[in-house]
Symmetry: C2
Subunit: 198 residues, 2 copies
């Protein structure tokens, strides 16, 4: 059946959300317009507000509404360590592990020439400006373990080396608590190649 125009437009707009297909979008729209009305109003308002306020951190490109994000603004963080990640969600994940006290640089993607994503789009100029300040002693490359992520890590490591800054790559191997039997071959090969002496 044909939905009424505003309903159809809402269903179409909900498909802008990642992982939402036509069926989920319809379910969401019906929910928002029935029992979910107060939540729907809050969603529309907070979305408009966030679009107006939330920008990128001037230094690390993390999403924030201040000129500097809370991590770049915190004096307690170790400025000698800089960790390059692909997305804000990666920052959240590393912070949740509680094992890192340095700063971040959010690339907002990975090198992907076919999609028109080059060093410029990843903010490499801003990254070079931070490295040029001289405070960073190690650039930790925590891009994803995909072909593009590896290529991006390689590119950035050369950038760091050119300035005499140590570049390191996070370890890839068997997940903690994982059973060897269920780990894929590529990961196992990485785990073996990256073995460390005890």
């Amino acid at each position: 059946m044909k939905h009424s125009p505003h309903l159809a437009r809402l269903i179409e707009a909900l498909r802008a959300l990642p992982g939402v297909g036509p069926k989920s979008a319809q379910r969401m729209a019906f929910h928002l317009l029935q029992e979910g009305r107060p939540g729907a109003r809050t969603l529309a308002e907070s979305l408009t507000a966030a679009l107006g306020c939330v920008r990128r951190c001037q230094r690390c490109r993390m999403l924030t509404e201040e000129p500097l994000c809370s991590i770049c603004a915190a004096s307690a963080r170790d400025g000698a360590l800089l960790c390059a990640v692909e997305s804000p969600a990666d920052v959240v994940a590393i912070e949740a592990s509680g094992s890192y006290r340095g700063r971040y640089f959010v690339l907002m993607g990975h090198l992907s020439p076919l999609d028109g994503v080059g060093p410029e789009q990843l903010g490499v100029r801003e990254l070079e400006a931070i490295l040029a300040e001289g405070g960073v002693r190690e650039l930790i490359l925590a891009t994803n373990s995909t072909v593009e992520g590896e290529a991006t890590a390689h590119f950035l490591s050369e950038l760091a080396s050119a300035r005499g800054i140590r570049a390191s790559r996070i370890a890839h191997g068997v997940p903690v608590g994982g059973e060897l039997e269920y780990v894929d071959g590529g990961t196992l090969a990485h785990a073996l190649a990256g073995r460390q002496s005890l």
Copy 2:
């Protein structure tokens, strides 16, 4: 890590969507504020517009922005058949099957005394008004095959019978194309009990 206030509020607001947990909400928020900005703006606008315009059909309670929904307004539909369903999504599903030319009545739920949902909340008064007009000859009960759905169907069937209107329940059984081997026992029992002579 603590998100900035507007970002945190957006993530919280996105959880109003059905089936969206904290992790998906964060992923959606990051997407909407990065590459998804044009879509996010459209979403906020269409959500506000839909909240302002979309109401229930005065007759069948379907979601629409006109006083009457497109089905109630269509003279080509058979007014002698009225199909009671639990939600607007059920109307969409039945319409998609292309096998029904009557009208609908959307209960927007099922009888659930513990949740404070009684006949009043399901619009039974409006349904009775339609039945009182005298045009309806059969009330098809297409509520879900759950305890509450069955109870609601039973309640509505008595309502129809009291007015001398035929009440029918949609058939429950083995899905078309389904293999007996993989059908659950409750469905098989229904299929056997509802067998028809050839």
